[in-house]
Point group: C2
Chain length 238, copies 2
DNA sequence: AAGTGGTCTAGACCACCTA
DNA sequence: AGGTGGTCTAGACCACTTC
């Protein structure tokens, strides 16, 4: 069993994605949905609120809920999808090489970024993401060891997020991203196939757990021609 | 008068920003807030839900609501803040020059982007954003004329968003952004002080109204060294 | 066991849109 | 006037954390 409002959310979301509701048409009214799902209006409204937040519908007061074209927004509806996963999805022949996997003590800048003590242990992971044989993305990850006890190359080759959420059962709650463009460092030139590009796109990622503790700091360094970031922002009401 | 839950939201948000609640400490429990604000629990929960979505607090089941460090997240809490406004905020001496303001018919690619008919009228606006005397950002905006009847250079020099939302009273509801890095066009070289940079950061913006109609397409072209994008994504529950 | 937030209910009234 | 979504209420029960 599950939350009722999430069940309703999923059922309607599936129906929209499956073409059961035409884009531009209107969803049944909240009153109708109350009857159809045999529940209270507030529960229906929670489900619709989630649908609106995730880009499936648009609620308009006095009119109804308009079905949006979900296929247009098939990208990372949640901004929490990691870019590396995105690259994997797009690239086809994606390969990850783990160049470094070490336990370190944080230097002063890392202490600030991770809010970690100087004598604490931090995992440092360097990964190269290859797409179709070209080294496109260089990921530097820093995790607090207190949260993740053992980390293997095998885990790093996959999605560390998946490992944490599914294997360790910890919920990642929110992330702050900063995107800038910088000149490549020596490291970038060694790790990436820059092909003459004199810039890299740097995505800094601060990842927090459900209890608001900072867990991870990641720097993802991209060759500029293969970089694409998609954001879907909406004004949310309660 | 106003929504009760928004009033409560604002009062608590102000208190957090003003230092009335220490980061890391806990907010009063929902039950306490019910008594303090003389309202129902669901209303308190709506206010707290907004606070959580906007990065002021983090709710943890069974424990309480943790106050986050709002000063760390002082940037575009809503992803809908326009980059130009951001640049204005940061830059100090920001100047906007309107290079073009014309009514056009959309070409085929614009017809697709704006979902507009070939014989409809579209405003085309070119604006250069100067910061401290350097031409840093080149904005190309396309608006459907049916929504905005008269547009002046004066309006374009300020924030077109403000004009639409406050003067015209239309609510911008959500936006989709795409960020890529491209080689500069001739136009970019003419309009911007590129100073040898061989890339520009291109932010494409699709802006929708409350009723889900697409209204505006913007391309914001940035000199790479001055570009910074900040995103704050959170997993939201109802 | 007590306290916290998470879900759910049944009903009320309001604001907005369409007719 | 009737339908729609937006807000608000008072109460219930559940899940999780802390003691």
């Amino acid at each position: 069993m599950q939350n009722k409002y999430l069940q309703i959310y999923k059922e309607i979301a599936d129906q929209i994605q499956g073409g059961g509701f035409e884009p531009g048409s209107k969803l049944p009214s909240e009153h109708d949905l109350v009857e159809r799902f045999q529940t209270s209006r507030e529960t229906i409204r929670k489900a619709l609120s989630q649908l609106a937040q995730n880009g499936f519908i648009q609620k308009v007061q006095g009119k109804g809920s308009i079905v949006l074209d979900a296929r247009k927004f098939d990208f990372p509806v949640s901004g929490l999808v990691s870019f590396t996963e995105l690259a994997d999805m797009l690239g086809g022949n994606a390969v990850t090489e783990v160049e470094k996997l070490a336990l370190i003590h944080p230097d002063s800048s890392l202490q600030g970024a991770l809010q970690a003590a100087p004598d604490s242990f931090i995992w440092e992971v360097h990964r190269i993401r290859e797409i179709d044989g070209e080294r496109i993305i260089f990921d530097k990850d820093f995790f607090k060891k207190m949260y993740v006890d053992n980390l293997t190359e095998e885990i790093c080759r996959g999605s560390i997020y998946d490992y944490i959420e599914n294997e360790l059962g910890m919920a990642i709650s929110f992330a702050r991203k900063e995107i800038t463009v910088e000149a490549p460092t020596e490291e970038d030139r060694n790790y990436l196939d820059l092909e003459g590009y004199e810039t890299v796109v740097v995505v800094k990622n601060f990842v927090y757990f459900d209890d608001a503790s900072l867990f991870q700091y990641t720097e993802s360094r991209h060759r500029p021609d293969k970089f694409k970031f998609v954001d879907f922002a909406r004004r949310t009401k309660a």
